[in-house]
């Protein structure tokens, strides 16, 4: 009997076809280098997956006999997280006739089978944060989804606010930043009820110019807001103030031809220890742009640990889903990527991507 089991497990070694159905199946993955997240890297690590979640991760993991095993000769890490995506929404990201649509949920418009989602998956991106367009003062609740199986991590995520000029319309209230700020103060003020109580919900504030960032910081201070700023190209010049307000910043997307000043701003934010995340703007940009943004920041001097955190664990914390994704830790979802080399290096590619413990993408398919 044990011999049969032994043969069975031997047969299961190597490239065994994995069960496709999501569920209670258990398997182990052995990696030459396992990136647990937050800077921890383990050589010859093992990841044990059960029921779509990580049961154990590290060295010397106790793998039960007979568990199917996958060998990977390079790096395995958590899946990447991209902000500011509008893929699968078919352009329906704004309701410009109303200036406030705080309870609108972007998830209601999401189509998981859209093409761009699969493209993102093949680049190692396992989580997308869908954000409304910045054309409304309070655009709605962001959604956090996975790039496979249509899994929804958060249907009511960050509350999207916009201080940008695009949210102003000369034909409806508010037509000016003063009107916008007055309206936001009124809605965020205690007892008004139109916006969820600020203490419970995190916000994502679109603040393109430095003056917008200044206004956002004022707003955050007066109402005790937590969350992140996005869309700013020179936020790094106010890095200390942002760090003091304990807000994160969503930076990018950066592409070929980006001004050096924008990259310097990101490096300044990194030095001030402001949590970062990268925006991708799917589907107008190619999903490879996520790691390209990170590479450009790295080349400009961003600390590699900060860059990696901005792609995984830090981004998950900003999106509010750190209890589900972003690290390879017991209890978190089994979303991980088998890379062909160092994931921060552009010459590496995902060999396979697992979402919820099921292989969702294999290179070459």
């Amino acid at each position: 009997m044990t011999q049969a089991l032994l043969w069975a497990s031997l047969a299961a070694l190597g490239a065994s076809p994995l069960p496709l159905a999501r569920g209670a199946d258990t398997f182990a993955v052995h990696a030459a280098e396992l990136w647990l997240g937050d800077g921890q890297r383990i050589e010859d690590g093992v990841l044990l997956v059960e029921g779509g979640r990580i049961k154990a991760a590290g060295r010397g993991v106790d793998v039960p006999l007979g568990t199917p095993r996958i060998e990977h000769d390079s790096v395995i890490s958590a899946g990447l997280i991209a902000f500011d995506c509008a893929v699968g929404l078919d352009g329906e990201t704004s309701e410009p006739k109303r200036s406030v649509l705080a309870t609108g949920r972007l998830i209601d418009a999401f189509d998981a089978s859209a093409e761009g989602v699969a493209a993102a998956l093949s680049e190692g991106i396992t989580t997308l944060v869908l954000t409304p367009a910045p054309t409304t003062l309070a655009g709605g609740r962001c959604a956090v989804v996975k790039t496979a199986h249509g899994t929804v991590l958060s249907a009511e995520g960050l509350l999207a606010l916009s201080l940008s000029e695009e949210a102003l319309d000369p034909n409806r209230y508010p037509t000016s930043p003063s009107g916008a700020m007055t309206e936001l103060e009124r809605l965020l003020g205690a007892g008004q009820g139109a916006l969820p109580a600020a203490a419970r919900v995190a916000v994502l504030i679109e603040a393109p110019t430095r003056d917008d960032v200044r206004r956002a910081l004022g707003l955050a201070e007066r109402h005790g807001l937590r969350g992140a700023l996005s869309g700013s190209r020179r936020a790094g010049e106010l890095a200390e103030a942002i760090a003091a307000a304990q807000l994160a910043v969503v930076v990018g997307p950066f592409a070929s031809g980006v001004a050096q000043r924008e990259l310097d701003s990101v490096v300044a934010l990194g030095r001030a220890r402001v949590p970062l995340a990268f925006a991708l703007e799917l589907p107008t940009r190619h999903p490879a742009g996520l790691r390209l943004s990170a590479s450009l920041c790295l080349r400009a001097g961003l600390d590699p640990a900060a860059a990696w955190s901005a792609l995984t664990s830090g981004a998950a914390a900003v999106a509010g889903v750190q209890t589900r994704v972003g690290r390879l830790e017991r209890g978190l979802d089994a979303d991980f990527v088998l890379w062909s080399g160092n994931p921060l290096d552009l010459s590496s590619r995902p060999v396979a991507v697992f979402v919820d413990g099921v292989r969702a993408h294999q290179r070459g398919e």
Binding site: G257, H286, L292, L296, L346
Partner: protein
């Protein structure tokens, strides 16, 4: 012992060694390949560059080796090269040849880069603005680019004559130009202005290009014939003169007699005309045809930007009859369909390995010349046997700075690592006819060297030193 070895090395260095293709001196420009006598300048600084991994050329690596640079040239390469006294010593993890971008618009005046009304005789080197954007220039060099093909009129039907130049911030403009007339550029079927074009317009453009080439070929024929006829005429004149000289006295008497007769009879005296009086006429000078004739004769390569299959096929068929034409395809988004032909005819392809969504990599709207851009194009073409070069698309000046990152991305999409490095160094040098001077770390070539902290294509690698024509232009103190 050492000085003896050095003396031997110096004495044995040939002037133009290791040339895989010798550029033909062009009648258009006064300067040929920049061959200057090794100047005995006052400094005579010697550089000794040592690396754990010295990449002489992709596929040929020396470990724990060094190279010696003097007066801007590499005079010795090997594991046994030691630093002479007084030499400036540089060490790093990896040393390789500087990168060359074969498809760039950096350094041109902005209007020149986007000019759509250039013709074949336009010279890109005339449009250089050496004071433009010094910060970007410095960033370019810090990224490792030590030479690039400069092309004006990248969106024009005939972009004119491109040049191979260095972005070296310190060099005077006339020394920065490696090769003034390096290639001729053309484009078929791309979007011009805001409008796209339909298939008939695109094919008409292709016909026009092929027509221009055959006109140039006839022009070349005419020139050759003219030269032949001129020779023949010279011979005939000399022969006739000799003949006439012999019977000179008699002929003189005959002439006087005729003159007398004409006067008596009150008739007009006509001078005797010989058919040799008629000098053969040279073909009418046409600047554009001159340039294209040099393409047709194989002197200058012709770089054509073309994307779609129909035009690619038409181009390949149409240029088959030009036996000596050196064709290079740029863009080639749908070239997989004709990859076999390209491989067979050994036509190099310059690929811009940028991943594109609905927007271009720099945020501008994607032009309509192709419907899908496959980021794995470079690797697929390479697998099919086509010689692939990597360029920055000629779309905007700062694209050149990101070329090494894009090359890394191409490697990620399957391009062989060695091929990627070759696509940045040896292959563009060869295609642009400057391989005798740059492209690899070999004895006799000019010293364009990168000293890095890791693999040249890795994102986390830091560029420690950049040596351009023997001068250290970038020095990172870390």
């Amino acid at each position: 012992m050492l000085s003896l070895a050095l003396g031997l090395a110096l004495g044995l260095v040939p002037r133009a060694a290791l040339a895989s293709s010798t550029p033909v001196p062009s009648p258009l420009s006064s300067a040929g390949p920049q061959e200057s006598a090794p100047q005995e300048d006052a400094e005579g600084e010697v550089l000794w560059i040592h690396a754990q991994r010295l990449i002489v050329r992709p596929g040929e690596e020396l470990s724990n080796a060094a190279l010696l640079v003097r007066d801007g040239r590499i005079i010795a390469v090997g594991s046994d090269v030691v630093a002479p006294e007084g030499a400036r010593e540089i060490t790093g993890e990896v040393a390789c040849a500087g990168f060359i971008d074969p498809w760039s618009v950096f350094g041109l005046e902005p209007e020149a880069a986007g000019d759509e009304r250039t013709n074949a005789a336009t010279r890109s080197v005339d449009g250089i603005d050496p004071y433009l954007d010094p910060r970007l220039r410095q960033q370019l060099v810090e990224a490792g680019i030590t030479a690039y093909r400069l092309q004006a009129g990248t969106r024009a039907r005939l972009g004119g004559v491109g040049a191979c130049v260095r972005p070296h911030p310190g060099l005077p403009p006339d020394e920065a130009v490696l090769l003034e007339n390096c290639c001729v550029a053309a484009s078929v079927g791309i979007t011009r202005g805001e409008r796209g074009q339909d298939v008939f317009d695109r094919l008409a453009e292709l016909d026009r290009l092929l027509g221009a080439l055959s006109d140039a070929q006839s022009y070349l024929q005419d020139q050759i014939e003219y030269r032949y006829e001129l020779e023949e005429w010279q011979k005939a004149i000399t022969a006739k003169e000799k003949e006439l000289e012999e019977g000179f006295k008699k002929a003189q008497k005959d002439r006087e007699k005729e003159q007398q007769e004409a006067k008596e009879k009150d008739k007009e005296f006509k001078e005797k005309k010989y058919k040799e009086d008629r000098r053969p006429k040279p073909p009418r000078y046409d600047a554009e045809k001159e340039v294209l004739a040099r393409c047709v004769s194989g002197e200058l390569p012709l770089v054509v930007e073309v994307h779609r299959v129909a035009e690619l096929r038409g181009l390949l068929e149409g240029t088959q009859s030009f036996g000596r034409l050196r064709l290079v395809i740029a863009g080639a988004t749908e070239a997989l369909a004709v990859a076999e032909d390209l491989a067979e005819r050994r036509i190099p392809v310059i690929v811009w390995p940028a991943p594109q969504g609905r927007l271009l990599l720099n945020g501008s709207a994607r032009p309509l010349e192709y419907s899908e851009a496959d980021p794995a194009l470079a690797s697929r073409l390479e697998e099919a046997g086509v010689e692939v070069l990597l360029g920055s698309g000629g779309a905007f000046p700062s694209g050149t700075r990101e070329l090494p990152l894009l090359a890394a991305l191409a490697v990620g999409y399957g391009l062989d690592r060695e091929a990627a490095l070759a696509a940045l160094t040896t292959r563009p040098a060869r295609v642009l006819d400057v391989a005798d001077r740059i492209g690899s770390l070999e004895r006799g070539k000019q010293a364009d060297v990168l000293v890095l902290s890791g693999d040249p294509l890795a994102t986390t690698t830091r560029v420690l030193y950049v040596v351009c024509a023997g001068d250290i232009v970038v020095e990172r103190k870390e």
